[in-house]
């Protein structure tokens, strides 16, 4: 029953998108609000709640992520209303976008809620394939090229994930039989796995697949190019929702890996994310347009979330995840407005907004920009505090204290390179360049306000307690 309720809005959207009607655009975006209702219902149910036997189980972690994603989805669809004001889109493309958005949403829901590695993978694949088509809504040759790239790389990545899943399955099948696919049983029996090395290889392949999909080292510009080529709401969906599906899988797999051999896991993830952040930070240092900048910073934050999670900073990782999921789409959506007047121009991008709407717009965008480099009172400030705290705690327990602290310091310095770049860009947006008059539409502003409010909600003590309760 619950499953049906969850899928209903997406199904309605799918059906609606098949009708040719001018009003469909509006109705579609309002149906997207319906996404939220079953989510809230699910959120309030006692956990863990079995939606579909042992296959789909809602617990604290995934309902939180689902809730965050649905808010992001609503914000993005709202901003879609005025997409045609900034770029050229045909009504057909709109409808097709919604059709695939519906499929995307279904896949997403399955993968986030699943308690089964296989179903998780199926959902992820569904979501990935539908996004390929969403990239294509933009009828440019670069978008076409990037869609193919995404198809290929996404397919490789996803196959790697499946390969890893089968290896993990193989490692656990001798003790669990067919149930070796379910996350919770695997977690409970992780210590009994007979061949930890097989599991570790599986885990390594799974995480490489996931990292490739999130654009980590060495695929750093891949995601940026795709997001550059597609429409900005698609980029927002990518950074806000699709990555959340990936990261939730990473959370689950790494949780099991922690039980199997924590040291290996930590060293692997730490080196990998450090490398990623190293490259990303210096790429950001040279970033020259908003889209690339934000998508690179998205990679950075994903790396941080992964790192916080494996360091044991569950709370920090989740908070950071929430903050990033709200901030990044908000920024991507605002690039639509920022770039509408002369592409790629950073200098003076925040200038020339008249009236109440304009003032509010630039104010919110400045806030988001400053929040993404974790200045207080951004939730990222807190999450980074706690996340690095968790890492220091690990360092203290390890045998290589000085090396670990050195590495953390190095990481912090890399983050400050990013910080520097963002500060420079913010200043250039606000204080340099020409003053051109630009327009902001209420729907965009409304979605930005939604994101801002959700960010504030993240800071409430209630949310903190809730997030601390998960783990």
């Amino acid at each position: 029953m619950m499953l049906f309720l969850l899928l209903l809005p997406a199904l309605i959207m799918f059906v609606m998108s098949l009708y040719k009607n001018d009003k469909a655009k509006r109705i579609l975006s309002f149906t997207s609000f319906a996404i939220l209702l079953p989510m809230i219902k699910l959120f309030l149910l006692p956990k863990p709640y079995h939606i579909w036997g042992d296959y789909l189980i809602a617990d604290g972690l995934n309902t939180y992520i689902l809730l965050v994603s649905s808010i992001v989805g609503i914000g993005v669809t709202l901003a879609l209303l005025t997409l045609d004001k900034h770029v050229k889109v045909s009504p057909n493309a709109y409808r097709r976008f919604y059709r695939f958005f519906a499929i995307f949403w279904i896949g997403l829901m399955f993968s986030i809620l699943s308690n089964n590695m296989g179903i998780y993978w199926i959902g992820l694949e569904l979501a990935t394939l539908s996004t390929v088509y969403m990239i294509k809504t933009n009828h440019s040759s670069s978008a076409h090229k990037e869609a193919w790239n995404y198809m290929i790389v996404g397919a490789i990545a996803i196959s790697l994930v499946l390969f890893g899943i089968i290896l993990i399955y193989a490692s656990a099948k001798p003790i669990l039989g067919e149930d070796a696919m379910s996350f919770n049983l695997l977690l409970a029996h992780a210590k009994d796995i007979k061949s930890p090395f097989l599991f570790e290889i599986g885990f390594a392949i799974v995480s490489v697949g996931m990292f490739v999909k999130m654009g980590f080292f060495p695929m750093n510009l891949w995601l940026a190019n795709i997001e550059r080529a597609s429409f900005y709401p698609v980029a927002a969906l990518f950074s806000g929702i699709l990555e959340s599906a990936v990261i939730v899988g990473f959370f689950r797999f790494s949780k099991i890996a922690m039980e199997v051999n924590y040291d290996h896991l930590f060293i692997f993830i730490f080196t990998y994310t450090l490398l990623t952040i190293f490259i990303v930070s210096f790429l950001i240092f040279r970033a020259k347009d908003f889209m690339r900048l934000f998508s690179l910073s998205g990679i950075e934050h994903m790396a941080l979330i992964a790192l916080f999670w494996v360091s044991g900073g569950t709370f920090a990782a989740l908070l950071h995840f929430g903050a990033h999921a709200f901030l990044k789409p908000a920024l991507f959506l605002s690039t639509g407005v920022l770039e509408s007047n002369g592409k790629y121009k950073i200098a003076g991008a925040l200038k020339g907004y008249k009236g109440k709407k304009g003032t509010m717009f630039w104010f919110l965008v400045s806030l988001f920009l400053l929040a993404i480099i974790s200045l207080p009172p951004s939730p990222m400030f807190f999450s980074e505090l706690y996340g690095f705290g968790a890492m220091i705690a690990i360092a203290k327990k390890s045998d290589h204290l000085l090396a670990m602290i050195g590495a953390i310091l190095f990481l912090l310095i890399l983050l400050s390179v990013i910080f520097y770049r963002f500060v420079a860009i913010y200043q250039s947006m606000k204080y340099e360049g020409e003053k051109n008059e630009k327009r902001v539409y209420p729907s965009e502003l409304f979605s930005l306000v939604i994101f801002a409010l959700s960010l504030m909600a993240l800071l409430l003590p209630i949310t903190f307690d809730y997030l601390k309760g998960i783990s």
Binding site: N149, I152, V153, I156, A157, L160, F197, E200, I201, A204, I205, V208, V212, P218, M219, N220, L221, W222, N225, N261, H264, I267, F268, F278, I279, F282, L283, F285, R286, G313, L370, L375, P376, P377, F381, L385, Y386, F388, G389, A390, M391, I392, A393, K396, L401, I405, I408, L409, L412, I413, S416, V417, F419, Y420, V423, A424, Q427, S428, Y431, E432
Partner: protein, 627 residues
Amino acid sequence: MFQFDTLSIVFVLLILLGSVPNIFYSSGYLPHIERKMHYQVHYFSFILSMIGVVISANALVFLIFWELMSLTSWQLILTEIKDKTTIEAARFYFIMTHFGFLFLLLFFLIVTDGDLEIGFVNMKDIASDFAYPTLLFFFIVLGFLSKAGAVPLHVWLPYAHPAAPSPVSALMSGVMLKVAIYGLFRFLFDVLYPWPLEWGIVILVIGALSSLIGVLYALSEHDIKALLANHSIENIGIILIGFGMGMIFDSLGLKVLSSFAFIAALFHSFNHMSFKSLLFMGAGSVLHQTHTKNIEKYGGLIKSMPVTAITFLLASISISALPPTNGFLSEWMIFQSMLSSSHIDNTSLKLAIPFAVFALAMTGGLAIACFVKAYGITFLGLHRSTNAKHAHEVNFMMQVGMILMAGVVISLMLFTPFYISWFDKVLVGLGMGSIYAQIFPHGMWNLHSVGINGGVVSPVILLVSLVGLSIFMMFGYKVLNVKERVHNTWGCGYKTSAKTQYTATGFAGPIRRFFNWLYKPDEHFVKQTIAGHESKFSSSNYEVHVKPLFEKSLYHSVSRVANFISYWVYRFSHFEQTRYAAMIFNLMILVLFSYRIFAHEFSWATFVLEGVVMIISIKVLIVGDKK
């Protein structure tokens, strides 16, 4: 969440003393600011966040307010954008302050074990369990001293402070730097006590270097606000000398001397707050009237701006550490504590301290030269530009601000015992003994050094006798009823004009020449000769620009390295664009190989093998053959 022990209260007092006159000044300054709303919001939240930092009782709150303080001050620098340099200064400031924040963050994370909401006192146990306390010490030093602007983390300061609107410069230089000093007091005492001897020496050396370098660069500066900002570096150095002496004495077990040195450092923090705020306000008034920061464009302002001139004079005397001002008193205390180093048993240390004495004395001498230059060129002589000619006294509110600040300076001078009793309480609160009775053994008139056979100074008596004598003589002059005649200055037969005056560049000339090896100045000399004669020329222009050595050697190389790395990373990343599959292939091999090696039977041979395999496969699959 918040705590109000004596240290906090004293620093709250410092912030209030610094900001209340400033609020008056700022309200007078406000009509000239375009973005009033932006300015006001950030101005007041800046003050509040500084207070927040000093009263916070746990790491989380401390860090939040610390970052808010940086954030708001950064936004305040950006209030008035006149040119690109302001933007660059703001960026530089923000990144440097963030750099310091990193170290503070690491420090707090280590001493709190991840629970950021524990009180400072509880951190002590965790810190003492930590294997490398010196690491913690360096984190603290880097964290706070980058904010305080001590050498070599000072380069941002002469850019950032002048770029802000003048009331904000006054707040940043006068008050915000002291918040960093608060941090040193708070965490060195509450968390990292007791200290090894070396820590004190480190602080002492940093202090001595900062004081000398600060004053030397101040001397060569032509931008009045940058000059003052460089002086902040110097004064932070002096405070750190006091602080370092206190730490040295404490680790040698000389508790009384140590308290004395700490009191001196606190006292100098207060004094610097008072006179530096006043100086920045004065400079702001001048700037406000003449619309230029170039000191060479001023001159003769004392006639049109008497209030500014007099308050500026008071502050100049005080910052030059001339008796009987408060600046003199605190520097005297620091001197006395250094002279008490003869009680130290450690000969090599004893031999080293005279160098610090030398640095401090030299600083004093150069500071005098510098402020004679700043005051003389700005306020005395003839107007050097039309801007200066049209200057007149600033509005009432700004005057009130300056007069109130002058009142703070004078109160620090007159009520030294009162202030010192509070500083004494601070140190008692931090676990040292009370030494108030030893500093003022016979009433409040004489300030005694606590060293054996130490010196004594009686500020009030000095002040009264100096003022009394001068007034007596002036009275005598009046009584004598001397005939007076007004005539032009004698200029060897030539007409005295603004152009015949000594310039600031000229004034600092001898000292600059003496320190040429340090300054390495860029000299620009343009002469329009007439008919090829060397000695005949219609116009000539001589300019000297000094770029700080540290900026050249340290900061530029850092930015070059960053550029270099980013260039290669960028190329590397663009390279990947078409070869995704190959990248993934290699990545898989790398990860699996590493897992195999590290998970089972690690040996160097396999490790090397992995490297070779990776290099070959990257060469073959990614780089490919050149076409």
